[in-house]
């Protein structure tokens, strides 16, 4: 339903070029060297899953894209524009929304106030809000309650709702299903499916391979701060030996 800004690119070349491209990105956090030259292309539209073990650098990659940690080397281009040197607020205003692993909910503010802040253009669009309430009914139910009183799953939904209250070109989502009950995960998968239908580009960090397979169009696998595999999700989903090699698991073990 909502109009994601994607179809406006005039040149055919711009459409083919990835929406987000990382080239040789290194990130240091204090004395630690976390990203060792990440090359990652996130195509326009669709959902790209970033897979990898704990500590592989997935969260660091997202935080580096958002400018919350600075890349010490390399290029980050968003929509053909370098963003690595921009402050976080400008990166957000360029059209990237971020759903952190910690959800980043303002617990002292009401659910509504959380969304008011996320809607930078001022008034929240009534149609879009109705669409959001359809995706996440809990948001409507707890509209005037402090966000801190929500359950973990509801907070996660609020965090995602905040990212999509206005159309954004790219949404970075860090492990949204972590610690959630299966029923809530199913709800979330359905919400992401619907979001995909709006042409919003999504970069999703996910540990749950079943969720990743259900949603992903493309996949990139990280290991020790590098991308070690990138391609279509369908390809990885079919190839058990590749799963075994990259992720140390095969789907059979999960089924």
């Amino acid at each position: 339903m909502p109009e994601a800004a994607s179809g406006s690119a005039a040149a055919a070349g711009a459409i083919c070029a990835p929406l987000l491209a990382l080239a040789g990105v290194h990130t240091h956090i204090g004395p630690y060297h976390i990203l060792h030259g990440v090359d990652l292309a996130v195509p326009r539209g669709g959902l790209t899953v970033l897979l990898g073990r704990n500590g592989a650098g997935k969260t660091t990659a997202l935080r580096t894209i958002m400018g919350l940690w600075r890349a010490s080397a390399g290029r980050i281009d968003f929509d053909g524009r370098p963003i690595a040197a921009l402050p976080t607020s400008d990166i957000a205003r360029a059209g990237i929304a971020y759903v952190p692993e910690t959800m980043g909910i303002f617990s002292d503010l009401t659910v509504r106030e959380n969304l008011v802040l996320a809607a930078r253009q001022g008034a929240m669009d009534a149609d879009r809000l109705r669409w959001l309430f359809g995706l996440f009914p809990a948001i409507e139910r707890f509209w005037q309650l402090p966000a801190g009183t929500l359950s973990g799953g509801q907070k996660q939904m609020l965090s995602i709702a905040r990212a999509i209250i206005e159309p954004r070109q790219l949404i970075l989502v860090d492990e949204p299903t972590k610690g959630l009950a299966p029923a809530i995960i199913a709800n979330m998968v359905a919400a992401f499916r619907e979001l995909k239908a709006t042409d919003t580009t999504i970069l999703l960090v996910e540990q749950n391979f079943l969720v990743a397979r259900a949603l992903g169009d493309n996949v990139a696998v990280m290991e020790d701060g590098r991308i070690v595999h990138a391609g279509a999700m369908a390809e990885l989903a079919e190839d058990r030996s590749l799963q075994q090699r990259l992720l140390g698991l095969s789907l059979d073990m999960h089924q």
Binding site: L68, T88, S89, P100, R112, R120, A126, R141, L145
Partner: protein, 341 residues
């Protein structure tokens, strides 16, 4: 930037929002507990009104400090300088307007008082801006350096006040119409104290309205909790912080003027003298909480006033005892501000 929007769908019925009453009840409880100890109702009323006036002034001086700490984790030990500067800057207007202050017409007094307050706030706003740029900004995120550097700033400013206005205390008379007291039977309520209470309440209400009803206020509260996320939503926290710092300095300046009139003398060390009390207020209120700061200021002032009447020898330590008691009850202060893990 009002956030009330007409086109939102009406939400379904919801569970009631819980209010944390316990700290709010503490204030009347403390006052009532003191009544039998003080004995005389008249004395108790005078003490209580005096304490409320003092509490309001402390709140005005402390409110900026708690937000500055909450928003950027900045420990500003130099905040007391703004109190002193405010009081002295008020003199810039108070000296030429001395005739107006001495007039027995309330309106003329009020104009002079407003002029004094405006000058004081303008000067402390500018000093606050410069202080943030030169002293605080280079030490973001480094607590130890913040303490040392802002302390240094305080000393420098205090010395500048001595250079400009001299080391001796300067008398400052309360505007004519605000002198004296109202009498209700044998209860005397000083007019100036009543003015301070009204002004303090107005500022508290105004701050609450800004913090809860405007987008700017929501951003400040959100920033206190998680400044990174405020940035990730596309807002420049740095600008917000400078704004809060300058506003906090201006409020300290206003508090300084009110404090100066209350004491009826200005001394270069007056800001530093109240800083201990202000830090206690900010700590027991919950770092970053304006509501907690308000309740904390009232509690500190009531305790100080009752104790100095009941047991003058204990008065000095009474605030520390109060702080210990409250922190034993709520280690994060009366209204703990949720912080990102």
């Amino acid at each position: 930037m009002n956030v009330a929007k007409a086109n939102e769908p009406a939400p379904a019925a919801l569970p009631a929002r819980k209010v944390d009453w316990a700290p709010l009840v503490l204030v009347p409880l403390l006052a009532l507990a003191a009544l039998p100890l003080v004995g005389s109702t008249a004395t108790w009323t005078t003490l209580t009104i005096a304490a409320l006036a003092m509490g309001m002034m402390i709140f005005i001086m402390a409110s900026g400090l708690t937000l500055v700490f909450g928003l950027m984790d900045v420990l500003n030990f130099g905040h007391g300088a703004f109190i002193t500067v405010g009081a002295y800057a008020g003199l810039i207007a108070a000296v030429p307007l001395a005739g107006w202050l001495a007039s027995d017409q309330l309106a003329v007094n009020a104009v002079a008082l407003i002029a004094i307050i405006l000058v004081a706030m303008a000067v402390t706003g500018l000093v606050g801006y410069a202080f943030e740029r030169l002293i605080v900004m280079p030490v973001y995120g480094q607590h130890l350096k913040q303490i040392l550097v802002t302390m240094g700033g305080l000393i420098v400013i205090q010395q500048l006040v001595i250079v400009l206005w001299g080391p001796v205390q300067i008398p400052l008379a309360v505007p004519q119409a605000l002198r004296g007291a109202f009498f209700f039977g044998d209860v005397a309520i000083e007019k100036y104290r009543l003015t301070a209470v009204v002004l303090g309440l107005m500022i508290f209400v105004a701050m609450q309205l800004v913090l809860t009803r405007t987008k700017l206020g929501l951003l400040i509260r959100a920033g206190v909790e998680n400044r990174e996320m405020v940035e990730a939503l596309g807002y420049r926290i740095r600008r917000l912080f400078v704004g809060v710092f300058v506003t906090g300095s201006m409020l300290a300046g206003l508090g300084g003027v009110m404090w100066g009139f209350y004491r009826e003398t200005l001394t270069p060390g007056m800001g530093l003298e109240v800083m201990v009390m202000i830090f206690i207020v900010v700590i027991i209120g919950g770092l970053g909480s304006v509501g907690g700061c308000f309740i904390g200021a009232l509690l500190v002032a009531l305790t100080a006033n009752y104790m100095s009447f009941l047991a003058p020898k204990l008065a000095l330590g009474s605030n520390i005892i109060l702080m210990v008691a409250i922190l034993l009850w709520r280690a994060q202060g009366l209204f703990p501000v949720a912080k990102r893990a």
